[in-house]
């Protein structure tokens, strides 16, 4: 069996201006340790930035914290990073949010965060509950070429 290298990082960040950059840099560092390509790293960094901004701008949480977990694993045939971005806010309806989304390529000033996350990551799953918080789970895979 091919050995697996696994890295885990947990962060609790205050909802302050530009904190998404701290999250993105931490994720980028973990991805670099796993040997992922710059393209995958950049895509993940942009996705986690949008997830943190959504939490900061829309969650309405009382604790003003964003909770992040990154788990990365590298095997012989490639690597994978799972990212969870959680807030303890009011939750939202993902289907309703998607219904307000402009068509891809249509110029629109706001409401693109979730669309960008889905475009930059391979898998995205949203768990959200009215007044029970939101967790966005995102996955990036990379096969060794």
């Amino acid at each position: 069996m091919t050995p697996t290298a696994e890295r885990q990082m947990d962060l609790t960040l205050p909802m302050v201006e530009d904190i998404e950059i701290a999250a993105a840099r931490a994720l980028g560092n973990l991805a670099r340790e796993l040997g992922m390509s710059q393209k995958s790293i950049d895509e993940m960094m942009h996705a986690v930035i949008e997830a943190c901004i959504n939490a900061r701008e829309h969650s309405g949480c009382a604790d003003n914290r964003i909770y992040l977990r990154f788990i990365g694993s590298a095997q012989g045939d490639g690597s994978r990073i799972d990212v969870w971005v959680t807030d303890h806010g009011k939750g939202f309806d993902p289907d309703e949010a998607r219904s307000r989304r402009p068509a891809p390529g249509e110029a629109h000033k706001r409401g693109r965060g979730l669309q960008l996350i889905e475009a930059h990551m391979d898998e995205v799953d949203i768990s959200t509950h009215r007044n029970g918080g939101t967790t966005i789970h995102m996955v990036k895979h990379e096969k060794k070429s």
């Binding site: 302050v16 201006e17 530009d18 904190i19 998404e20 950059i21 701290a22 993105a24 393209k39 950049d42 895509e43 960094m45 942009h46 930035i49 949008e50 901004i53 402009p102 891809p104 390529g105 249509e106 110029a107 629109h108 000033k109 706001r110 693109r112 965060g113 669309q115 960008l116 475009a119 930059h120």
Partner: protein, 116 residues
């Protein structure tokens, strides 16, 4: 934590090139907008944004770039971008910005076509 964006302007005979360095978020987008609107007020109608030293953007910053493009289009001018990372290029396409502003691989190619 701050990630202040720096903007440098190079005036040309037929327009201007704006060089950005750093994160284009709401604050960075407003900084670009301020410089772009100053140039528009001075009569500049061709602007090239060179993002060679910008590696990260967010959706709020891009929404401000779209506002700048709209204002320039109202004045009959044009805005173009060059030297984007592949992920920023992809993000611009998703956000619709690429439909209203040309994107060039290099400053030389942009300057030649825009006659800057």
């Amino acid at each position: 934590m701050t990630e202040e964006l720096k903007v440098a302007v190079d005036r040309k005979s037929n327009g201007a090139i704006l060089y950005t360095r750093g994160y284009i978020n709401n604050v960075g987008g407003e900084e670009i907008a301020n410089r772009a609107y100053e140039l528009m007020d001075e009569g500049v109608r061709t602007l090239l944004l060179n993002l060679r030293e910008t590696k990260i953007v967010n959706s709020i910053g891009i929404s401000i770039l779209i506002e700048i493009i709209e204002k320039m289009m109202e004045k009959g001018g044009r805005i173009a971008f060059c030297c984007l990372t592949p992920v920023i290029h992809k993000t611009f396409q998703i956000m619709g910005l690429a439909n209203y502003a040309k994107i060039y691989d290099s400053e030389e190619a942009a300057a030649a076509e825009l006659a800057l």
